[in-house]
């Protein structure tokens, strides 16, 4: 998989139909396309099953918005919105 540095790719995502995970709403589902990050965060994402091709369902936001709860391969995983922003997804 390609793990690249975080870059602001608003224009690119508009063209490819991909979104950042943090922009999805509870109830939305998507497929993980790429992780835009390196090091500890990217490693932890992958450890938790967040790898390219996996289906993610956004379950809910915590009372103060952060973190966001995800359903991945039957596991509930909570991530910060700032981290979710590093995950590029294809909305379903």
């Amino acid at each position: 998989m390609a793990v690249t540095d975080t870059t602001d790719q608003k224009d690119v995502t508009a063209m490819t139909g991909t979104k950042r995970l943090n922009s999805l709403k509870p109830g939305d589902s998507c497929i993980l396309k790429d992780i835009k990050g390196t090091g500890a965060t990217a490693q932890r994402f992958m450890d938790l099953g967040l790898i390219p091709g996996v289906t993610i369902k956004v379950v809910r936001n915590a009372p103060l918005v952060d973190p966001v709860e995800l359903l991945v391969k039957g596991s509930h995983v909570s991530v910060r919105h700032s981290e979710a922003r590093k995950i590029e997804v294809i909305p379903l």
Partner: protein, 233 residues
């Protein structure tokens, strides 16, 4: 032997030291309690305030010293818990690893199992929470899994004390067998494998790499592991 290994002060040499590894909430501590009963004490790993639980168990007349490692999702060097767990495994102190796997979450748990296999230590897998897995409609063939991983796989329900004898038996059989280390090898694909081979070849001629499994060292270096890089600093 190493910079990154952290030994721990326990166990006389006559005992078999078993490191109990596993992801958070895999039931690692429940397995630990099942095997040791109340014969355990709590300390800290040298120099850090991360809890270290040590307990004793008797298996087939042999004395086992079990060390409960911190729960980690993987064995990199990104967090203190991972560095401690890995350091203890590399210290040369444990004779065996007992990898506790949450059967109801097998795919995610196998990430750690693969990393432990890459460290090439004699290992037993405890397929824990089999009741939860079956209740959720997950069916796992322990025999097939054992064949694929090249290590003994024991289904357990530690909460109900199920599988205690079988885990003991598997640990002792692994300890006693001559080819206890699995030859399981994760295939990283043609592109990466080519690079891995090149690096591994270079490491084979490097004295600083002696004492480590070359394949493991190579994979960790390629992953940019900061602790492993220190060996060659």
């Amino acid at each position: 032997m190493t910079d990154i290994a952290g030994s721990a002060d326990s166990a006389d040499s006559a005992e078999i030291v078993v490191a109990v590894a596993g992801q958070p909430n895999s039931g690692k501590s429940t397995i630990f309690n099942m095997l040791t009963g109340v014969r355990q004490f709590v300390a800290n790993y040298p120099g850090v305030t991360v809890e270290k639980r040590v307990g004793r168990a008797d298996c087939r007349g042999h004395k086992l010293t079990l060390v409960d490692l911190p729960g980690t999702y993987s064995m990199t060097s990104y967090s203190l818990e991972e560095r401690i767990a890995r350091g203890f495994l590399l210290s040369g102190e444990p004779h065996l690893v007992l990898d506790v796997v949450d059967a109801s979450n097998l795919e995610r748990n196998l990430v750690l199992t693969f990393q432990l296999l890459e460290m090439r230590m004699p290992m037993v897998v405890s397929l824990n929470m089999m009741d939860v897995a079956e209740g959720g409609g997950v069916r796992i063939d322990p025999k097939r899994l054992s064949e694929q991983l090249g290590v003994r796989v024991v289904p357990t329900v530690a909460k109900k004390g199920r599988g205690k004898k079988e885990v003991c038996e598997a640990l002792m059989s692994t300890y006693e067998s001559k080819d206890a280390v699995s030859d399981f090898r994760l295939d990283y694909g043609p592109q990466l494998e080519q690079s891995l081979a090149t690096v591994e070849q270079a490491l084979a001629a490097d004295d600083r790499a002696s004492g480590y499994d070359l394949r493991w060292l190579t994979v960790r270096l390629m992953a940019g592991d900061q602790e492993v890089r220190k060996i060659f600093a």
